[in-house]
């Protein structure tokens, strides 16, 4: 079930929300409301099939038990009566976390030295053993379902054997959300919670399929209290409708341009392909994230935004502070900072940077283009830091913006190409290498017929809609509430009409 399916829009959502509001009206306890939300979230996910539901439930139970075991071990270690002389647990020595600091939430130095001098895994503090076991099992499941089917595809028998394992939808997203709980408990940024609350945090139906990835320490307080105010309901409805508009009206139609130009080998066709994908990916994923945030708000939760107008960035570093924020935050918090961040030697910092970006590429997919794409992002960020960052800061804004957009489109070309050879061929054609003409009839067809759509998409990707809304609010002498209701109502009708006409496409980021 997807958020744009009719079964969701006209059955699941209204029914589940109506029941929820009735429960709230009856002043049912928050803990009971959370049970209800968890049950409907699991029912939502059950539409994906038993195997997928099993994996989700396993991940929930496994990570919850592991976090409980870690907290138990940490509590035991804090007990001064334990005096077995083993290495100090790093969390025991950790100061209260400073969110503004770039130093690691874990101080690995002391415990790593002690561990090295002892007899490997078994000499590590129990909490750390449990952490490694927990992460290991999670990564094993990810490897089995997401990576091995592709990596073993060339090997006949193995391929047949591994083809039984088909990745459950949203696995990458909810696994990372649930691991944030484990890490936050290990780093003592949060205490363990009930299985229901943890399950709701990880598997809430609004974001279980495509995020945003949750950060437990930032979200935990809402699990104890998430009132459904009128403002939250209005905000949630607006966000949901905006997200649906971006997805159905823009992303799905841009997908048609992309599909039509995939085999085009003209210069214009290649650039149109890159532009259409650049916009399609953004509106598809941002649209979903907005719908997810809207759903969360309807039920009283606040999820931070996942995109902040990334195509207005003036550097690659800024781009990555605006794109898929929940993922970059996750990697920074749980990988980059524990590795030492930038508070290490120069060479170690460069290594940390490339490790994080390689992992980011791998997270997106199991094939070489994703790895190259990830490494490229790390390289560009490094280059901005070390080579031309100062010059870039002094350049006019329009050149900086052009620089970002060209590099982003080249990056996305690598991202969406099935093989690295095809990626390089397309990039070559962008710069007149290997083209079969400047343009052809197919490229012109999509340019002419897609011009308005592309212009609308570019408009919506900037800050102009906000400015336009503000202008209308100030200068148009009409009832703002009625105008807004009319606008959103019209948008909803058009979206539904497009969904009915079956021009809707699958959400792109479900592939990750």
């Amino acid at each position: 079930m997807q958020l744009t399916d009719f079964s969701f829009l006209f059955a699941f959502l209204p029914l589940s929300y109506l029941v929820y509001l009735l429960l709230v009206r009856q002043k049912i306890k928050t803990s009971t409301l959370n049970v209800y939300l968890l049950v409907i979230s699991l029912l939502f996910y059950a539409a994906q099939g038993f195997s997928s539901l099993f994996i989700l439930v396993f991940i929930l139970l496994w990570n919850w038990f592991c976090a409980g075991a870690i907290e138990y071990d940490l509590t035991q270690r804090a007990n001064p009566s334990l005096a077995d002389g083993s290495a100090l647990d790093p969390a025991e020595n950790m100061e209260a976390p400073n969110l503004g600091s770039q130093t690691g939430a874990i101080n690995p130095a002391g415990s790593i030295r002690a561990a090295k001098s002892a007899a490997g895994f078994h000499a590590l503090p129990a909490a750390r053993q449990t952490l490694w076991l927990c992460v290991g099992v999670n990564l094993l499941i990810l490897l089995l379902y997401k990576y091995l089917p592709t990596w073993l595809a060339p090997f006949g028998f193995a391929s047949r054997w591994i083809s039984q394992f088909v990745m459950p939808i949203g696995l990458s997203f909810y696994m990372f959300s649930s691991l944030s709980y484990v890490f936050d408990v290990y780093n003592q940024k949060a205490k363990t919670c009930s299985l229901v609350n943890f399950g709701l945090f990880t598997a809430f139906f609004g974001r279980v399929i495509m995020g945003p990835i949750g950060h437990y320490a930032q979200f935990k307080d809402q699990l104890d209290d998430h009132p459904v105010t009128r403002r939250a309901k209005r905000y949630g409805a607006v966000l949901f409708l905006q997200g649906m508009f971006y997805k159905v009206m823009l992303a799905d139609n841009l997908a048609l341009i992309f599909a039509g130009l995939e085999t085009n080998t003209s210069w214009l066709g290649t650039w149109l392909l890159a532009v259409s994908y650049t916009l399609q990916l953004y509106f598809d994923f941002m649209g979903y994230s907005r719908m997810a945030r809207g759903l969360a708000s309807l039920f009283g939760f606040q999820i931070p935004q996942n995109f902040d107008k990334p195509y207005t960035a003036l550097s690659i570093q800024e781009f990555w502070r605006r794109w898929h924020i929940s993922l970059t935050d996750w990697f920074r918090e749980y990988i980059y900072i524990p590795l030492g961040g930038n508070r290490v030697s120069q060479s170690r910092w460069v290594l940390n940077l490339f490790v994080v970006w390689l992992l980011t590429g791998i997270w997106h997919g199991p094939t070489l283009p994703f790895f190259v794409w990830g490494i490229l992002q790390g390289g560009l960020i490094l280059a901005e830091h070390k080579l031309y960052g100062n010059a870039l800061n002094k350049a006019p804004a329009w050149t900086r913006h052009l620089y970002v957009m060209v590099l982003v489109m080249i990056s996305w070309t690598i991202f969406f190409s099935p093989t690295i050879g095809m990626a390089f061929a397309r990039i070559g054609r962008m710069f007149f290498v290997g083209i079969e003409g400047f343009s052809n009839s197919q490229a012109m067809f999509y340019l002419v017929h897609g011009l308005i759509l592309l212009a609308a998409a570019i408009f919506c990707a900037t800050n102009l809609p906000k400015k336009a809304t503000h202008w209308i609010t100030v200068h148009v002498p009409l009832n703002k509430g009625l105008l807004g209701a009319f606008g959103y109502g019209l948008g909803l009708v058009i979206c539904l009409a497009m969904l009915i006409s079956q021009t809707s496409q699958a959400f792109l980021y479900t592939a990750f």
């Binding site: 099939g49 396993f58 409980g68 090997f155």
Partner: protein, 164 residues
């Protein structure tokens, strides 16, 4: 399992690991897949796994001529091949009612057998290609693929029909 864990949560962890192993083992022996994915989604995923220049979509009426199969037996069907008698590469993607599965699958097998016997005479490399074809028919989706990397295409097909 040890008789006594120090950490009470360890019992839960141990039980879960056993359940996981049993589940993974049982996954090897699962039956055919019934898909809820749309034909468009499956088609898109499978076409992404092949060189689309080699598999342009053909008129469904050709299915009747080439496969002796009424295309209207299926809910959705697509034939993808170059109109070139020297090339054995072709692909058929079909969504059907489970009751039609056997008939459609047999049509694919007959086609494979016919193509192989034709190519054996004058294009043994194409005959070999046809011999290595994927004929993967699940509960309501089927794939017949002749071409390079058959396992990769089959994997894409299976992932797509499972909705991923």
């Amino acid at each position: 399992m040890p008789s006594k864990f120090k950490n009470p949560y360890a019992y839960g962890q141990a039980i879960l690991l056993v359940i996981l192993v049993l589940f993974l083992i049982s996954s090897f022996f699962q039956g055919s897949i019934h898909s809820t994915a749309s034909f468009a989604q499956v088609e898109s995923a499978v076409l992404a796994a092949v060189d689309q220049n080699q598999y342009p979509k053909q008129d469904n009426l050709k299915i009747r001529r080439l496969f002796s199969l009424d295309p209207y037996l299926a809910k959705n069907i697509g034939l993808y091949r170059i109109s070139n008698g020297m090339e054995g590469s072709e692909m058929v993607l079909v969504e059907y009612d489970p009751s039609q599965k056997d008939q459609i699958e047999q049509a694919m097998k007959d086609r494979q057998s016919l193509q192989k016997s034709i190519y054996e005479g004058y294009a043994p490399d194409q005959a070999e290609l046809v011999d290595g074809a994927v004929i993967d028919f699940q509960d309501n989706y089927g794939l017949y693929y002749v071409g390079a990397d058959p396992q990769k295409v089959d994997q894409a097909f299976r992932q797509a029909i499972k909705g991923n």
